[in-house]
Symmetry: D2
Subunit: 291 residues, 4 copies
C-alpha cells in the first residue's frame, strides 16, 4: 500500500443536502458516533438561515470503512429520509477514474499528469483521448493509454460513440484539458456535473472562441481562466474556480495566450482536486465548494 | 435596534478545545439541538487525527439567546467536563469594547475607525490612547474619546497606570495601531491574547525596529506586515495574519514605508475582525483561525 | 515649501506619440541634454516594432524648470514636428486641480482624501460635488468645499450647468467616486480622458447597474472593480486599472457589496495616481500606462 | 529558423552602469541611432538622482546585428569610457547555454524543461547534473543529456572537478533546481552571478535547512520561495525574485512542502527568465531587475 493510500485509509466523506431545519447536524453526528466514526472535518452552508437549502460535507475516520460501507449506507438511508435529504457517501481511498480529453496544447494535460504522479491529485487516469496525435509521446512517458479519436463536423457522432466505447462506463470524471471540440447534449447529459472544462477567460467575460483576442481588443488589465462543469449552453455551466493574471499594454495576443497557460493549468488543477476530494455540490447552476 | 445588531441577533458562538476522541461533535450538537439551537457554521481542527488536541467553533442561532445565556452555561458545563475541555460561549450581538493605542501614524487607526463606523467591524471603541496629540482631531470627528498619555523611559510605569485607570477594567480588546511604545510584562500578562499588534514586516523576518530599512538593505522583493498577539518577547507572539506587497529596486526606504501602510492597515483590520468574531484560538504560541 | 513639493521640484514629464521610426529617442534625449536636463525615467512602447505607433514618457530633472518652461516648449515644438508627433509637457510640481463627484457611499471618496492629505496622491482637491448631503461633514473635516447639487431626470441639464459653473474652467481632473448619476455626452466631451470612473465589476463582465447582484446570480468566484475614463457609451471607456477579490458560495450580495468597496477604493486610487503622475496615454479606446 | 529565433532576430541588449551625470542617455541613444538601430525598450535606474550610481538597459533592433557585433563593440568602447562605465552587449538570438543541477525532487527541473521546450524560456539546456539517478528517465524524455555525479563529504572536491569537466567552459548559467548540495567557494567564484538557486522560504526568514519545518513551528500564515544568485554565504546572495502562498493552521509540514513546490517552481522560472533576457544587474549584493 502506497503512502498516498494510507493518507486516505478509512476516511469517508458524506455530502448531504436538504431544506434547513434544526437537528440535522445533531442527527448526522450522532449517527456517525454510534457507528464508531470520528469526525475530522465538517463544513456546512445554508442559502438562507431561516428555511433555505442546507448543505453539509463531513469527513470522518471509521476503522474498516470499506468492509462496513454497505451497512452504513443501509443504516443512514432512513436517517436521511427523515429530512428528505439527497446524499452521497464516498470512500476517500477509492481513486476516481479519469479520462482526460485534450487537443494540441499540452500545458493543462501535463500539469494534471504531473500532479497525479506526485500524489498531489489522487486519481487514476485511465486514458487520454485526443483529436490530435502530437501529445502521444508525452502521455506514453507517463505510462498512460493514449487514444487518437479524430473529429470532423461529419464524424462528430461516430467520434463520441468511439469515446463512449473506450470509456466503457468505467470513468468517474472527464476533464477537458483545453479540448477544442464541442460535445453533444446527449454526451453532456450522461456525464452531468462530471465533466470539468477549463475556459481561458474570467467568465462571464469573453464567452466563446478567442477570448485572448477579445481581451486584447477591450484593453483589459487582467486576464483569467475559469474551470466549470460543462453544460449544453457554451461556457455557462456552474463555475468551480477562477483566477487572473495581470497584463498591461505591452502584451500582444500571443503574449496573453502564452502567460494565460499558467493560470489555466493552475485553475483547472484546483478544480479537479476539489472534485476528486468530493468538495463540490452543484445547486441551481452554482457550486458550493467546501475548502 | 440597528441593522448590524440584527445581523447578530440571537447568534451564539461556542469555542471549545480538548484532547481528541470520538463523540465530541455528537455530544455538542445534540446539546445544542436539545436547547432548540440551529447550527449555522461549524469548523474544527485536530492537531493530529489520532489523539491530538481538538478545537471546534460552532456558530448557532437560538431564539432568546441573551435571556437564556446563564441557563446554557450551567447546562453545558458538565458536558464540557466529560471531555475535560476548555470552552467559551460568546453572544455575537454583544459588542466587544475596544481601546486603540496609537502614536503619530494615522493609517491603521483611521482604517479601524472607518470600518467600525461602516459596520464592517462590529465593535464599540471606548477610547483612543496616544502618546502624541496629533491624532486628536481625527478621533474627535468620529465622536470617540481621545486620551493623551505621554511616555518617557522614566514615566513608563506611571503611564501604564494611567492607561489602566482609563480603561477601568471595561475593555475586551486592546489594538496597537502602530503604537511605538513597549508595554511592560505586567501589562501584557493582564491582557494575554487580548492585545493585537501590527508589525511592519513578514515575521519572523525583520524583527524589531526599522524593518523597512532592513528590508531595503537586504534587497527583498516583497515587503509585508504581520498582526500578532503581543507577548513579552518582542515580535514573537502568536501570528494571526500576514500579507505582502511587491517592491522592486526602485523603491527607497521611504517608498516602502509609504506603500507598507496599505498592507499594514489591511492585515490589522482582518486580524481585529477575526478576534471580534471569536474566530481565533491560541494554542502553544500559534493561532487557529476559523475563517 | 512642503516636503512633497520638494520631491517634485524641477521635475518635468514629456509624453509624446507618433509613427515609429529610428532616431526619435536620440532626438528627444539630445534635446533634453542640450537644455541641461538629466533623464530620471524613460518608458516607451511601440504597437508594432516595424512602423506602428510609438509612445514615450520621459521624466527629467532640469534646474529652474518652471521659469524655463515656455522656452522649452518653443524649442521642442519643431523637434516634435519633425516626427509629426503629438506631445505634452507637464510640470510635476504643479498640482492638478480635482473635483470629486460622489453620491452616498463614502469609501472611495474617503480613500482619495486620505491619500491626498498624506501626500500619497499629489493633487489639490478644489471641491466635492454630491447629489446627496450625507458626506458633507466628512468632507468638511478635511477642509474641502462641499457642494450639494441635487439631480432628478428633469433637472439633469440644470444640474450639469451648476456643476460647470462651480468648476469654472479651473479643474484638471474629475473623479467619479461611486457617483451614481449619468453624465451627458456634452459634459463628457468637454472633459474627454479627464473623467475617471470606478465601476464595481471586472469589465467587460457585468456592465451596467447592480453588478454584484449579477455576479451573485452567475456564481463567480472572483469579484472585481475597474477604473476607466468615462465615455458616452456606458462602462465602455478606456480601462486604466482592474483588480479582483476572491469570494465563495457563502457570500451574499450584501457581503460582495461590502468587501467590494475595498477593491473599488484601491483600484480607483491607483488609477487617479497614475493620471496625476502623467503616466497614462489613451490611444484607440485603450490605455498605455507607464508604471 | 524557428519562430522563437525570429522573435529575437537582430535584437541587441545593452546594459551599462556608471556614476550618474547628464548626457549619458543622449550619448548612448545617439550612438545607436548613428548605427541605424531602433530602440525598442529602455529602462534605467539611479540609486540617488544626484550623483548616485546609474544603470540602464536598452533593447534595440539593428539589421544584421550578428555580423556587425564586433564593429559595434569597438565603436561603443570609447563612448562608454567617457563615462567610466561598465557595460555588456548581448545578442538576443544567441541562446544561453544552461546546466541544471538537481537532486531528487523533480518539480523545479520539470518546470524549467517544459518552459524551455515551449519556448517560454529561451535557452539551450546542455545537461542536467544530479547526485541521484531517479530523474534520468524524465530528463531523457526531453532529449537532454543526464549526468549522475554522486557526492559525499569526502568526494566533494572530485565531484566538483567532474562537474567542471562535464561543463567544459561552455556553460553560461547554472541553475540549482532544488539541488541539495553545498558548492565550494572556488566553484561559486568561478560562476559569480551566474548560478541561480531557489530557496524554499521568503528570505531572510528561515535561512538554512528545513525552512518548512521552521515555518510550521513559528505558525506563519504565508510560506514563500526566493530565487537568488548563490554566494559563499548560505542563502545570503542577491535576491532576484520572491513570492508567497497562503497557509493556515490546518497545514502540516508535509502539506507546506507539497504546496510550496508550486511557488518554488514559479519563482525559479521567473528568475531564470529574467537572467536569460539580460534583465538583471547585480550591484552591492542587490539586484536591479528591469521588467
Amino acid at each position: 500500500m502506497t503512502e498516498q493510500a494510507n493518507r486516505y485509509r478509512d476516511i469517508g466523506r458524506l455530502l448531504l443536502s436538504c431544506r434547513d431545519r434544526p437537528g440535522i447536524v445533531a442527527a448526522i453526528t450522532r449517527f456517525l458516533y454510534e457507528f464508531g466514526a470520528n469526525i475530522i472535518h465538517s463544513d456546512q452552508h445554508t442559502l438562507d438561515p431561516f428555511g433555505g437549502q442546507f448543505f453539509i460535507r463531513i469527513e470522518f475516520f471509521l476503522p474498516d470503512l470499506e468492509r462496513r460501507e454497505e451497512e452504513i449506507r443501509r443504516a443512514f438511508s432512513p436517517v436521511a429520509d427523515t429530512f428528505e435529504a439527497t446524499w452521497r457517501l464516498s470512500i476517500a481511498e477509492r481513486k476516481k477514474r479519469l479520462a482526460i480529453f485534450a487537443s494540441r496544447a499540452d500545458h493543462a494535460l501535463l500539469e494534471l499528469l504531473w500532479r497525479i504522479r506526485n500524489g498531489d491529485l489522487y486519481a487514476d487516469v485511465r486514458m487520454v483521448i485526443s483529436n490530435h496525435t502530437n501529445l502521444e509521446p508525452m502521455v506514453a512517458s507517463f505510462g498512460i493509454p493514449f487514444h487518437h479519436v479524430p473529429i470532423s463536423s461529419e464524424t462528430r457522432r461516430q467520434a463520441e460513440e468511439r469515446e463512449w466505447e473506450l470509456m466503457g462506463g468505467e470513468i468517474d470524471l472527464i476533464v477537458l484539458a483545453r479540448y477544442m471540440q464541442i460535445l453533444s447534449p446527449q454526451f453532456l447529459e450522461r456525464y452531468r456535473n462530471r465533466i470539468i472544462n477549463i475556459h481561458h477567460s474570467f467568465l462571464p467575460a469573453f464567452v466563446g472562441a478567442d477570448p485572448y483576442g477579445a481581451a486584447y481588443e477591450r484593453g483589459v488589465k487582467l486576464i483569467g481562466a475559469t474551470a466549470h462543469y460543462a453544460t449544453e449552453e457554451l461556457d455557462a455551466g456552474p463555475i468551480i474556480e477562477q483566477d487572473v493574471m495581470r497584463v498591461d499594454h505591452s502584451y500582444s495576443v500571443a503574449d496573453m495566450r502564452r502567460i494565460g497557460r499558467y493560470v489555466e493549468r493552475a485553475v483547472l488543477a484546483r478544480a479537479v482536486d476539489w472534485h476528486l476530494q468530493d468538495r463540490i455540490i452543484v445547486f441551481q447552476n452554482k457550486t458550493i465548494v467546501f475548502v
